[in-house]
């Protein structure tokens, strides 16, 4: 029987990072920009000359709405309706993710909308089978 070594897997590494509160990306040595979540090449310039990077998780929440009920994916049935946000990370990438700590009601979402962009911080939301990225408003 051959001895097969487990190969590096970027997707697995990202979720394993999330489980420990680490937000993994790649940084491009050609153009200097980040690809988040990570792939094997730069999403901006197509360069393969990239290296692993960790992002701060600091972000600005630009807009927040909510998802449909029942959720499109069974993983999120339990928490639907949840708030879903459009954010810009301090390091540049635009991200869409679940927002925790805000109720998915027209009243709460309207109040948030009227405040304009607000600071937010990434955290890990542990679902039954997978840790996922989430953000919490911090200011």
């Amino acid at each position: 029987m051959q001895n097969a070594t487990e190969q590096p897997n970027t997707i697995r590494s990202y979720y394993e990072g999330l489980a420990n509160g680490v937000f993994r990306a790649i940084a491009c040595k050609s153009c200097g920009r980040y690809t988040f979540p990570p792939t094997g090449c730069c999403e901006h310039c197509g360069s393969w000359n990239v290296e692993p990077a960790e992002l701060s998780g600091e972000a600005t929440l630009l807009f927040a709405t909510h998802n449909i009920t029942p959720a499109c994916h069974p993983r999120f049935e339990k928490i639907a309706p949840y708030v879903y946000g459009h954010l810009q990370l301090k390091e540049g990438p635009i991200v869409q993710a679940i927002v925790v700590g805000v109720k998915a009601t027209p009243q709460d979402l309207r109040e948030l909308f009227e405040r304009g962009p607000v600071p937010a911080k990434a955290e890990t939301l542990q679902m039954d089978d997978l840790p996922v990225l989430a953000f919490r408003v911090t200011g």
Binding site: I11, T39, F63, T65, H66, N67, I68, C72, H73, G116
Partner: protein
């Protein structure tokens, strides 16, 4: 990249089935998926005045193979449409499928490889094969439809972490639009009501539409004297992604569409009035589809510029526009990016009736994704079908008073293939 078609290409025939549900819609109930496709193909071939054996190649589109169970679509359907022994391929560009197929056909004709190409798309988003039956179907749950459909969306990170089409395509875009142009949530809601009313009016005049009931009639049937009260009722029109409501969204459908493309000189000898396929543009993007401004989508802009460059047209030349309106607010943003509507004024144009078939900025005269319905791989073909009917002056009650000479059809193939097609009078 020269971005040119070296020979002139025409659409010589178009066909489309009724859109609806193979288990319950009149004209569709009990129909097999094979016969559904054949219906659209036969109409297109008859319209072009050719037989299936007159075509050189067949590009067969189907996106959600889990419900159709028809991979190898070209061979499985060949004996149902008469195209045995032709060149062919099964392809998908999700909800842009049929128009991407038209672009592939145009390229193959302009390159001199084929003279005449049949493109068709078939999709069943409401029904699926029942167990192992060759002919019985059963409904698909809402969640199953989206689970299968979202397989076309980022499966590494987007979908596993809570991506939701209604949030991404509707709610966030709506909020971006309101903030950018200083539109109140109340004015937004009223504008979306008027837009839906227009789409439903168009559907009511389209015999092949999924929904043929005007919004006002539906409201009255539910006991509302003011249709805006119906619009605002949580029971009938809940927020699916605040501030976007249910009736601003797609309605799923089973359906099929087809078209015949040929050399322009051959088309002139055909049976029906041909329409020139003047140009196309295609550009795609993975999530996120927009940067800090949810109203501006770079891949759409690139597709628009490529298509307009190939066809040598400007926004001011457009007489009829369809933009992908799976999300009504996104369709307005795209029309504004194209320059057909003034930036920030799209909802006002809807309120003023400008987007109606008899207005000065007609859009989605078949009813669009909401009223005509959405059968993923077949839908772009249904939009082209409508544009061709309008250009021929054959659109019946919803005919644009002065038949368009230049039509532009924009579609979003999930997720996302921005596809723009320019049609012109030959």
């Amino acid at each position: 990249m020269t971005n040119t078609l070296r020979e002139r290409v025409a659409i010589s025939g178009v066909g489309c089935s009724r859109f609806g549900d193979l288990l319950e819609t009149p004209e569709l109930k009990g129909t097999s998926i094979q016969e559904l496709t054949a219906r659209a193909v036969k109409e297109a071939l008859d319209d072009a005045g050719v037989s299936a054996q007159d075509v050189d190649a067949v590009f067969a589109g189907n996106a959600m193979v889990a419900s159709s169970q028809l991979p190898g679509t070209y061979t499985q359907l060949s004996k149902w449409i008469g195209t045995q022994f032709k060149a062919g391929v099964h392809f998908e560009a999700q909800c842009s499928t049929t128009n991407v197929g038209a672009a592939l056909a145009a390229m193959s004709i302009a390159a001199g490889v084929y003279d005449t190409v049949l493109v068709y798309g078939v999709e069943t988003t409401r029904t699926k094969v029942k167990q192992f039956s060759p002919y019985e179907r059963e409904p698909i749950s809402h969640q199953q439809t989206w689970l299968w459909t979202d397989m076309a969306v980022n499966q590494a990170y987007g979908v596993p972490q809570g991506y939701d089409i209604f949030s991404t395509y509707n709610g966030l875009v709506a909020l971006g639009y309101c903030r950018k142009y200083g539109i109140s949530i109340e004015d937004f809601d009223r504008g979306m009501f008027e837009l839906c009313r227009t789409r439903r009016l168009h559907g009511s005049m389209t015999p092949k539409a999924n929904i043929q009931e005007k919004l006002e009639d539906r409201a009255a049937r539910e006991g509302f004297s003011d249709p805006y009260d119906y619009w605002q009722s949580d029971k009938h029109n809940p927020f699916v992604a605040w501030p976007s409501r249910l009736l601003s969204l797609v309605t799923t459908a089973d359906g099929a569409s087809a078209m015949v493309l040929t050399r322009a000189d051959l088309a002139k000898q055909g049976k029906s009035e041909p329409v020139e396929f003047k140009g196309f543009g295609i550009s795609y993007s993975d999530l996120p589809w927009y940067g800090d401004d949810p109203t501006y989508w770079e891949f759409d802009k690139r597709a628009i510029d490529a298509a307009f460059g190939m066809a040598d047209i400007k926004a001011a030349d457009i007489d009829y526009l369809h933009t992908h309106d799976c999300s009504h607010i996104s369709s307005i943003c795209t029309a504004e990016t194209i320059g057909y509507l003034e930036a920030g004024k799209g909802l006002a144009a809807a309120r003023d009736g400008q987007l109606r078939f008899d207005g000065n900025r007609p859009m989605s005269t078949h009813g669009g994704r909401h009223a005509f319905g959405h059968a993923w791989a077949a839908s772009a073909g249904s939009d082209t079908y409508e544009a061709v009917l309008q250009m021929r002056g054959k659109a019946g009650a919803r005919q644009i008073p002065r038949p368009p000479r230049v039509s532009v059809i924009h579609t979003h193939g999930y997720a996302m293939i921005g596809t723009v097609v320019v049609l012109g009078s030959l």
